[in-house]
Subunit: 336 residues, 4 copies
């Protein structure tokens, strides 16, 4: 059994890890810390967890105890995470960081994007970007994983095959993305109150959203990225507009690289919806060609909390510990 | 034109008053105060209000300016409201208080229920309970209105005809009530975050909700009152269980008193749903008799923000100023 | 009082007309036909309408009776509507057609788009496109109005000022649009069942949606148009990507044409959300410039059933009958 | 591996079985029939199932092929199911029937409730009611299971301990129940269209719902049962009003019988919400005592598709095949 620690267990990604790992046959959460819930019994705070975490309580942040685990998942705000992950690595743990702090190759781009001085530049080179479909080999040997952003996962899995194959104009890509509200985290902000959100829909972070630079670094394309807030809890759908240089067939071929992937499904001209992905660790991709304009319109769907965060983190853990990559991960969505 | 002031204009009932009064042909909001929004332009804060409140800004709380209005609506928390309404009355304004502070006949019951010493006992006797279907004549002459609670409006309009007619056992009534989330107000509380609320449903305040005593005082019945939180924004549906002493026909007759009411519709054995009421100032009531148990099951629906708060407040204003009672009030729901 | 007839009163646009006209001080619905509801009492079918339509029943389709009205709103499927509207015109009524049948200038484009032979080509020239912000003068004199499509209203109001002013590349426009489910009409289709829709989000009609040609004809731009289905009942938000030729200031100036419009509000770089528009007859428009790509990202919001259908139809009626354009129309949204 | 057949695989309970069994380590769906989808590839119909059902197609109804499975789940309408299950039993299969046809001990009560002549009275005696917490031993030996109704599961698990212990008045019980829309099945009925359901809430089947007699037979109490339709997809919350004869402590003791149950959790005076249960096979129960009236208010929550249908069916299968009862079943909810 892999002993797992979770730091920041009360946020949505932390909770989702506890939920997913409850069903994982080879891993066990032995430490879960939350500043706000420290000392409270897990089963009383969240009755739904009582079947698995019956006697356990949330711990206060205690990096020594955390570092005794085989692997620690850090579910902390950007900036704070870099330092804590660094200390855990120093103490000998393997670390999967769900924040943005160890995702970037270009540390200047990170610092410009997040407006933070990175406190552990000694580790950023070593950290591996946790997108298994592209970095499996490196992940298997890594001590420190920068787990990809949710919008980035949906966008890069759809865009990179086309960019790598040279079949699109990499300078004119537009990503019109829509996310469920859990992407904003567990916030006590009136803007996310049910009354303000239900029945509404809006764009936000237009021209300024921080995932833009991560998408650009990982896909190699220049993108206009426009996120919107859906009135659903889980799921991202990205509609991606590409000016095709090659033929629609060339695009089709580019997606053949996913044929054996357990968690990425290319559906041809069938466009996926959020319901296909929500609840599972899968990414679904479809594409349609518009003859009138020569554009390829690609639609990509994931569950932002699973493939876009905690599920992908468990997938990375499976790889790091030599387990079959699908171990304990949901491959079918909730459907309802 | 009636000059209207609103104190506490940023909460949901305050906003709803601004929305409803924008369409009122005989009244005009000339003063709207909000501590948190003081100085901000209304049209910039809420673009949807720009057509009517183009140049106006939210004022800071200024009771002298408020008292220059013909009538002031107080949309303030229980306890705070009593004193401010008192000062407005002292300054010569007419006041409609949407809080609980001037609703009770029995001031001890109020103090016990809200755990507050009432600071203006000199006014509680004079204040009129603003349920027009029962107190029209008193409302017409009143200076100070205690506007009914939302659950209370739905419950009492359904229950009082039966209790008054003596056709039910007044000691065994159960009210199982379900409310939209706007009933909780404009809260930055994680419990009301979209993620926590959507797809959920729960009971709350079981055996302890403060509207219980108001229902009991106004209906004359002893009730078990169990509120629940729906995942809809607007609307209350109360399912009321009564042990019938008379015949179903007697109950039918008791509801005949609403025949000429513009805002209360008795539907016989057709049970209303929230959609019939949401968006309008109407209360819809239906009832079914269960022969096996001798129980009458009454269903009552209102929009908690309109007939349950701001719409009823405008209805009271219409009466106080000698206007037709329906002036400016919506009698058709949103439907969608 | 204008005597109003509604043909097809049971669909969502027909119902919305009945709801809006209930509050209209100068018009009265005297005839409402519905094949499926013929003979049923309106107040029993929809209790929420009981305050206004107390004794009235749905009529069967009876064009003679309809033609006795001063104006008839046709809420019928594409294709069917052309012929019925023609007969009503022949019988001397004024007609506002909410279908696509009388919207196009280029009747070949209509026939190609809808795959229908137009049965009344004698009337298509005379029919006026009912977008008041551009065709007020013609609407005032018209007998027959082709009321604009919902997506088209949101798109053209945002796009046409830029296209007319020559500040954008008219060949590279992308419209990524999202609509509430009422846009699909009152359907007994399992795909629109609450279970299938709630929590979901999807693109549909990609590269093939019929509103594309109407947008192109009315805006003068070539567009990639991608509609999506939101899990909200009302509202459209269109995110429009334009390659700017002029400066951001030129775009700003182009929107000055709406300064005195009662129902179109340009918000500068504040981007509107659906909540601002839902429930009102207003269109809200905002725009942001992305320096990196030279793109202008325009966001436009309307209520699809009001400004996108029945409200705009009433606006057209007001103009046709010489009333102030805002008579009886909601200028404030529901907010909640 | 247990070979599983599903008859009626396209309804919500059939789909839910396919979803749950995909993650079951000891069972495999080898036959799934659906009249409407016969011949279609499962992975194309439901992309979310592609990971597990890659090459499989929906079969037409073929009882011979179905009977080759070790166990067949029948997800068919009441009435139809009785005969088909009978034939499968005749052919030697074990059968778990999710309809009402084999649930009742008193076949007259069934026939009166469902207004159907039971075609296989020879089997009704033998059939075992599939509520594992009460009938484990009989289930282990059964060939034919009548899987409990959703409302019944939530109600009886909460009510039966109190009724059995004699601590409540069994003649005055009221169950005010609220269900998610998936309880109505996969319907192309305009009443379940998103527009009609979202934002709404209503009572239905008041005094006449068919689950009433099943609740009464299985709990031993006489009940007023009032179901309501929530705007959530999954989940039932039942609020149960009991007149207490014993003390609150006696009630507490009655629930001790669930202490070792993996799927029933008694929470004391903490009242569960739907979110605790939705997505899991667990039932959560809490209770509060109201001194003023001597009433015990019990709240019980389940997921109607899992513990209320397909999950409980799998639990029964586990017992019938000697597996640990929790095998392959979710014990943690979706939470979001």
């Amino acid at each position: 059994m892999i002993k797992v620690g979770i730091v920041g267990a009360n946020g949505y990604t932390g909770f989702e890890l506890m939920r997913l790992l409850a069903a994982h046959p080879e891993a066990e959460v032995t430490f879960a810390s939350s500043r706000s819930l420290a000392g409270q019994k897990i089963a009383e705070t969240y009755p739904t967890l009582s079947g698995y975490y019956g006697d356990m309580s949330y711990a206060d942040v205690d990096l020594e105890r955390a570092a005794e685990c085989d692997v620690v998942f850090a579910c902390l705000p950007h900036g704070q995470s870099a330092e804590i992950c660094g200390k855990l690595i120093d103490a000998g743990a393997k670390v999967i960081d769900l924040s943005a702090d160890y995702r970037y190759d270009d540390i200047n781009l990170y610092e410009k994007t997040y407006k933070i001085d990175h406190p552990r530049k000694d580790l950023t080179k070593e950290a591996v970007y946790g997108l298994p479909e592209y970095n499996r080999r490196e992940i298997a040997k890594a001590r420190l994983i920068g787990n990809p952003g949710c919008y980035v996962t949906a966008s890069v899995l759809a865009l990179k095959p086309l960019a790598d194959a040279g079949v699109i104009n990499k300078k004119t890509v537009i990503i019109d993305a829509k996310s469920g509200t859990s992407g904003a985290g567990r916030k006590s902000d009136v803007a996310y109150n049910f009354n303000e959100t239900d029945g509404n829909f809006k764009a936000y972070g237009v021209t300024t959203h921080r995932h833009t630079t991560e998408i650009e670094e990982k896909s190699g394309a220049t993108v206009t990225f426009t996120p919107h807030l859906l009135t659903v809890k889980r799921g991202i759908l990205a509609t991606i507009y590409c000016d095709l240089k090659g033929s629609p067939d060339d695009a089709e071929k580019a997606y053949a690289r996913y044929e054996k992937e357990p968690f990425v499904h290319y559906l041809g001209s069938t466009l996926p919806d959020i319901k296909a992905a929500a609840g599972s660790n899968c990414c679904y991709i479809g594409a349609k060609y518009e003859e009138k304009t020569g554009r390829l319109i690609v639609v990509s769907c994931i569950d932002n909390l699973i493939k876009g965060a905690s599920g992908q983190a468990v997938q990375n853990m499976n790889i790091m510990f030599g387990l079959p990559e699908t171990t304990g991960l949901p491959r079918v969505g909730f459907h309802l």
